[in-house]
């Protein structure tokens, strides 16, 4: 769990998957993407209510390696930015 000190009151509402550190977990609250992509995210486990954990991050700004339940995914940071997490 991230320490609350890392988040100021303004950023707390804007916390996204992109900002989640390696080894941390958080609950997804919203997907800010188009309907079609939202369906695909859900089908791969990325949907509101689920807990997501960052296993590792590729160097040079490469994708994030995530785990949701028993499913593992890789996702670019750009897309991770549109996934909102619970504070």
């Amino acid at each position: 769990m991230p320490k609350s000190s890392q988040l100021n009151s303004n950023a707390a509402t804007l916390r996204t998957l992109e900002g989640l550190h390696v080894g941390e977990s958080a609950r997804i609250v919203a997907l800010n993407v188009e309907a079609d992509l939202s369906k695909r995210f859900s089908a791969l486990g990325l949907r509101p209510g689920n807990w997501v954990r960052v296993l590792r991050s590729a160097s040079l700004g490469g994708p994030m390696h995530l785990r949701i339940g028993t499913t593992e995914l890789i996702l670019r940071r750009h897309e991770a930015r549109s996934i909102a997490l619970a504070p």
Partner: protein, 587 residues
């Protein structure tokens, strides 16, 4: 005949189950209203023959991707008597919505919970009977890969096919489906694959991941040659013996023209091509093993940051790697990319992948003109060149074909390929080769023989023959590259398929095996050979590739671009290399 369709999300093991059920007898076929070909096979279920169709893997039934449209069009235009729905048992939570969507179709459903071996390792427990009762559809728990539980599948299919019923659309709502799964499946709170976790810690390491990946690929190529080259030499020797011991005495009394056509044309051409089959099968088997272990998704993870700078993504890189086997399936594999821009850009660079057919040309020329210690480095330089050309093209065209797709990819756990999978893949490659041989190679080598031996009276392959005249005609364009008239003819035929290049040289020089190698060594120097190899590497891979690009894009403009652009690049690169090399050697 009743029709059964296999449906499931990507990576649920559909093709493994399809292969398990049908052996290697599947046929690729066209369907009315569909733009893509689907695999299908006949299957005996109880006492009736049914047609089993493998549908593309999709994430939901109401999506707009090409694959999803293929599935919905198929299900609305073709009467389907049973939908066999595949699920990955260890990742059920995210597939429930899909199950609900499928059950609302007016088609009988059979749920197959696959990969039960992995689920058991994770400690996941499934009450199949309870689930079947609650959902009102039959449920089979099995592992298509290891065959565990397969014996229930055919009887379950038979049961559904022989039970008449008026309506099949389920009235259960989504929450009922979720509840049923929740009650019948128990997942331990901490479930992960221990071996995968520790392997990934090393193989996906931020610093060592990429070097390890390149070392693995190098090892694969080295392995193919260490085992394949002696096999190839043995096959070539056997085929030469076959000619001198069997065919020549047999045909001794036949007319000279027939002898020439059959022995110097067909047999020399075909046997030169055939001697490479062990090498190519081995290559596919090795690539197949890498693919089956799940390492390719890791390659996508490792390479994505780099590829994004070229306007591509990790999947494009995996497709490029697949193209090292054969460009055609790699081009079709780009269907998973939803952004048209990214898909077109990937299709534009795939033909630069040094496919196995081109590899055989290079292996032949390298063996003829370079020493054994130089050989692996020369081949490596061509692989590097192949990637460089792909990247150059990508950079030049990335603003025209812009990527606007999200990059999200499943990471399967590491898996051990089974011997069965490996053998099946090898066999499919042999079949694929025989198929190509019957279509292009036979016609190609016969045509080369006719062109090099007519008009009547000319000495074979001389300047006066039709082929010689063609070579003469092209000389102003190709002689600055150091490409001789004989090689020009091989290049022209290589446009059809690269397998013909060496076969046609055998026909042009009227020799095969070691004799052919010696002749080539005497006729051209290493700079001419390398220039020729660069040209073969870069220009159009084959007619099948062009046809596939045309099929996938339906765009004449894009197809023309994918022919003309590589041709221009090939000429420039060979020209620069040959002129520079000869300048320095002279100096």
């Amino acid at each position: 005949m009743k029709r059964v369709a296999l449906l499931g999300m990507p990576n649920t093991g559909k093709s493994t189950l399809f292969n398990r059920l049908t052996g290697a007898h599947a046929k690729v076929g066209n369907w009315p209203g569909l733009t893509v070909e689907l695999l299908s096979a006949k299957l005996l279920v109880g006492d009736q023959m049914v047609q089993l169709v493998d549908l593309p893997g999709i994430y939901d039934m109401h999506g707009f991707s090409d694959d999803e449209k293929v599935v919905t069009t198929f299900l609305t235009t073709q009467t389907t008597d049973l939908l066999v729905v595949l699920l990955n048992t260890s990742q059920l939570d995210r597939q429930l919505n899909f199950v609900h969507e499928v059950m609302q179709q007016d088609i009988p459903v059979l749920l197959v919970m696959n990969m039960v071996d992995e689920a058991q390792k994770l400690g996941i427990h499934v009450d199949a009977k309870g689930l079947a009762e609650q959902l009102g559809v039959p449920v089979c728990l099995l592992s298509a890969k290891y065959g565990q539980g397969m014996e229930q599948l055919l009887p379950a299919m038979r049961q559904v096919l022989t039970t008449p019923s008026s309506s099949h659309a389920s009235t259960l709502d989504a929450s009922h489906v979720e509840k049923a799964f929740g009650q019948c499946i128990s997942v331990p709170s901490q479930a992960s694959h221990a071996l995968t976790d520790s392997l990934d810690r090393v193989l996906l390491h931020p610093w060592f991941g990429l070097p390890i990946f390149f070392a693995v690929m190098l090892l694969v190529f080295q392995g193919v040659f260490a085992i394949g080259k002696p096999l190839q030499d043995a096959t070539a020797w056997l085929l030469t013996e076959g000619r001198t011991v069997l065919l020549e005495p047999l045909m001794a009394t036949w007319p000279t023209v027939v002898q020439g056509l059959l022995l110097d044309g067909l047999y020399n051409g075909l046997s030169t091509v055939a001697s490479f089959v062990p090498l190519i099968v081995l290559f596919f088997v090795f690539m197949g093993i890498v693919e089956d272990t799940g390492y390719l998704s890791r390659a996508a993870y490792l390479m994505d940051a780099l590829m994004s700078r070229f306007g591509l993504d990790g999947r494009s890189f995996v497709m490029l790697l697949m193209g090292f086997g054969c460009n055609v399936p790699a081009l079709m594999g780009t269907r998973v990319i939803r952004s048209k821009g990214l898909r077109y850009l990937t299709m534009l660079v795939i033909p630069f992948s040094l496919c196995s057919a081109r590899m055989q040309v290079f292996v032949f020329f390298i063996a003829a003109l370079f020493t054994a210690t130089q050989a692996p480095w020369v081949l490596l330089s061509l692989y590097v060149m192949s990637l460089l050309m792909a990247m150059l093209t990508s950079v030049l065209f990335k603003n025209r074909y812009v990527n606007n797709d999200a990059f999200i990819l499943e990471m399967p756990p590491y898996r051990f390929p089974t011997l069965r999978q490996i053998v099946l893949r090898g066999w499919q490659e042999v079949r694929h080769f025989l198929h190509r041989a019957s279509r292009f190679i036979v016609i190609g080598v016969l045509l080369v023989w006719v062109l090099t031996n007519f008009p009547i009276g000319v000495s074979a392959g001389s300047i006066d023959s039709w082929a010689g005249q063609m070579g003469q005609f092209m000389a102003p364009v190709l002689s600055p590259l150091g490409i001789s008239a004989e090689l020009t003819i091989a290049l022209i035929f290589g446009f059809v398929a690269k397998e013909i290049v060496i076969g046609s040289l055998a026909v042009i020089y009227g020799q095969e095996g070691q004799m052919l190698v010696d002749t080539i060594t005497n006729h051209i120097n290493w700079m001419q050979a390398y220039s020729f190899m660069l040209f073969v590497l870069i220009y159009t891979p084959c007619v099948s590739t062009i046809a596939t690009i045309r099929n996938e894009t339906k765009s004449l403009w894009f197809t023309s671009l994918s022919v003309v652009w590589p041709l221009c690049v090939a000429w420039c690169v060979s020209f620069i290399f040959y002129e520079t090399a000869t300048y320095f050697v002279r100096a």
